[in-house]
């Protein structure tokens, strides 16, 4: 009789981690099924930031769409610009002058550092390390100042054109950039002190959200999330685009694909990006910055796909042209969208706090997820 009286059943309940939430990295909604503090199921609900980018592309001409690509992944706009102008150039068979390619590499890698700074800052913030977040954003400000020098804008850069670059770097840009590159490694050491070496941080991120390489490949995720699982695969080395085959850099990989590995790989990637930028500044040739492009851009009929190693994964644009001034169909392969697909599997059986850590570690931005 006593045993029956002791049979208290608990009930799972559904919690809406709604579009308004301090740590969902944007307007993302997750319907969690919780058993106490343990998450038993996660259902992704996306689309709160859907703006119809792909449809808009059909009503704009090719050059007009470049500012729209800034607003996809708004943390790393230069890389979005690059992927888009890359696909149009591929379809048109344009050859971009070498100097423009080097300029693109410099801006792209600088953008990668800025993106990873936001990543590590938000990661620390989601674990309540407020001060770490402030320090990283302080350093990101220095990078944004450089972008303002080049393009006039801090975030929505609109920095590349079909066939090259819109204008030369200002004369004070390269010296300022070199000065920043000297300062950054010192800043990274500061972050190592406050975040990477912290025992509480280790306890919160090690062995959390483990995804082995096979599962990640099955989901179609690329980029850092793949490298953190131990697979040495980087588009800049496997299928070198632009002038990446001219540079010498390493590919950092993780061990087991947990949150800590994803964090460490991105910290290392920032250091590698600094290497690449230094080499690019040294090797940049003189010359024109814009190819011979007709005034009105009308690619011939056909289709092309171009992808780059974006800051969050494989960022690809698929373009179908029917010979007119507007694209017939433009599809954006957004890495955050694919990564988010694996999120429910990663977070089953963990605590709510781990869920927040995992969501922060896969590096999503809702502009890209919802387009």
């Amino acid at each position: 009789m006593l045993k029956e009286q002791c049979d208290i059943t608990t009930q799972e309940f559904q919690l809406n981690m709604g579009p308004q939430h301090p740590s969902t990295h944007g307007v993302y909604r997750a319907i969690l099924t919780l058993d106490g503090e343990t998450v038993t199921n996660v259902e992704n609900v996306m689309g709160y930031l859907h703006r119809g980018m792909e449809k808009i592309a059909e009503n704009r001409n090719y050059t007009q769409f470049i500012p729209y690509t800034d607003r996809l992944d708004y943390i790393a706009p230069a890389l979005n610009n690059w992927a888009y102008v890359g696909v149009v150039e591929k379809l048109m068979g344009l050859e971009v002058p070498e100097r423009a390619e080097y300029m693109r590499v410099i801006l792209g890698e600088l953008q990668r550092i800025a993106n990873h700074l936001v990543y590590v800052a938000s990661f620390a913030l989601d674990l309540n390390g407020f001060s770490a977040w402030m320090y990283m954003f302080r350093d990101r400000e220095k990078i944004l100042d450089l972008f303002e020098m080049v393009t006039g804008s801090r975030m929505t850069l609109n920095s590349m054109r079909i066939g090259g670059m819109p204008s030369e770097f200002p004369s004070e840009f390269i010296p300022a950039l070199e000065k920043l590159l000297e300062e950054l490694p010192g800043c990274f050491e500061e972050y190592d002190g406050i975040v990477t070496g912290n025992e509480i941080f280790h306890a919160r991120t090690k062995n959390i959200g483990i995804m082995n390489a096979e599962t990640i490949i099955n989901y179609g995720i690329g980029g850092v999330n793949l490298r953190a699982a131990g697979l040495k695969y980087d588009l800049r080395k496997e299928m070198p685009y632009s002038v990446y085959d001219q540079f010498e850099f390493d590919i950092p990989i993780g061990e087991q694909g947990d949150c800590f590995d994803r964090y460490v790989v991105r910290m290392e990637e920032m250091r590698e990006s600094i290497r690449i930028i230094k080499q690019a500044i040294a090797k940049m040739p003189d010359g024109p910055i814009m190819a011979k492009v007709p005034r009105i851009i009308k690619p011939s009929k056909g289709e092309a796909y171009f992808h780059i190693e974006g800051a969050k994964g494989w960022l690809g644009f698929y373009l179908v042209s029917d010979g007119s001034t507007n694209p017939y169909r433009l599809h954006i392969h957004a890495p955050s969208f694919v990564s988010l697909g694996a999120f429910p599997e990663m977070s089953r059986g963990t605590y709510i706090q781990d869920l927040v850590a995992i969501l922060a570690s896969i590096d999503i931005v809702l502009g890209e997820v919802d387009r």
Partner: protein, 343 residues
């Protein structure tokens, strides 16, 4: 300077006696004045502490903090409270009316009651109970109720999660808190606050009971719901925990209560481990004040440096690390006391 408050109290007492009141009436009035002055002391400190926290956090994060309202932003808290007073008082439809409304008030009561046994200086305790430290422990454990009232009464899953976490955390961490005090009580031989302070005349208890101090400090951080143990109001996961549904002045009360609890806990740490009012040159009550603020700054420093600890790590830290260490501390203290007695 030293006896300024005692002289003030004597003057008021003589004045009241001179008015022709009976001794009982004089006592009643004196006690009410003491209670009100403690309340005023507490509230003024809390107002200042909110400002201090914002400035300390700002300077740790390489920014300025409030610097517009008043000299160096000094009146920021006052104006924030005035602003919160003017906000709409939203009570959710399905919230439990009584629990929801009483929770912010209930959270202040234990805090104020603790101050009855705190020595603010030499001969400056409101009520020198001979179970002083025991009274403190007993009253401090009733703080949990306000959180459960807020968590349940809000009718919100986030609040409930936060409320449950608070209960688990606060009840669990009371045990090492109490056990670490036992070492101090064993050396003093009494539960009376004034005797605990008197026993520290030559050597503060932080020197003779360092392990107890560390355990007490960690447990106190958990009791106060301050980072890295601020799971109950874990902003990044459960929005604001038990406080999610509160707005306006009710929210302000919770906020102020956190700092009031911090003042209470700090002054207990000063009394029990840091020598109370002992100190050269300066008046005793000024020493208490200075030491209290040092402890508070230490709490703030910790908050803005560390990330948050996870729920199961919190529990395992308590039961597997702090409690065994506290018991070991008691054993060692007992052995050392006996050995010293033999010689």
């Amino acid at each position: 300077m030293e006896n300024i408050f005692i002289n003030l109290a004597t003057m008021i007492r003589d004045f009241l006696a001179g008015l022709g009141l009976s001794p009982t009436a004089v006592d009643i009035v004196m006690v009410s004045i003491q209670a009100i002055s403690i309340l005023v002391f507490l509230l003024l400190n809390v107002l200042f502490l909110v400002y201090l926290e914002r400035k300390v956090s700002a300077y740790i994060q390489q920014r300025l903090g409030p610097n517009r309202v008043g000299p160096r932003g000094f009146f920021q808290t006052t104006l924030d409270v005035i602003k919160l007073l003017g906000k709409e008082d939203i009570v959710p439809d399905c919230a439990d009316k009584w629990l929801f409304r009483l929770a912010p008030i209930a959270i202040f009561i234990p805090t104020m009651m603790v101050f009855a046994v705190v020595p603010f200086g030499e001969n400056m305790i409101a009520v020198d109970l001979n179970i002083g430290i025991f009274y403190f422990v007993a009253i401090a454990s009733t703080t949990v109720m306000a959180f459960i009232m807020a968590g349940w009464g809000s009718n919100n899953k986030y609040s409930l999660l936060g409320g449950m976490r608070t209960v688990a955390q606060m009840i669990s961490y009371e045990i090492p808190l109490v056990f670490s005090l036992l070492g101090v009580v064993m050396i003093t031989g009494s539960l009376k606050m004034s005797e605990i302070v008197a026993a520290q005349q030559n050597v503060w208890f932080i020197v003779s009971q360092p392990l107890a101090f560390i355990i007490f400090f960690i447990a106190a951080t958990a009791e106060l719901n301050r980072a890295p143990f601020d799971l109950p109001e874990g902003e990044q996961e459960i929005v604001a925990g038990p406080y999610t549904e509160y707005s306006g002045m009710r929210f302000a009360l919770f906020f102020l209560a956190e700092y009031a609890n911090m003042v209470a806990m700090s002054i207990i740490i000063v009394t029990v481990f840091l020598g109370g009012w002992h100190g050269p040159f300066l008046p005793s009550w000024l020493w208490v004040f200075i030491k209290m603020y040092l402890v508070i700054t230490l709490f703030m420093w910790l908050r803005w440096t560390f990330p948050r600890i996870r729920v199961d790590h919190l529990m395992s830290l308590n039961w597997k690390v702090l409690l065994p260490l506290a018991i070991i501390n008691i054993v060692i203290t007992g052995v050392v006391i006996k050995v010293i007695q033999w010689f």
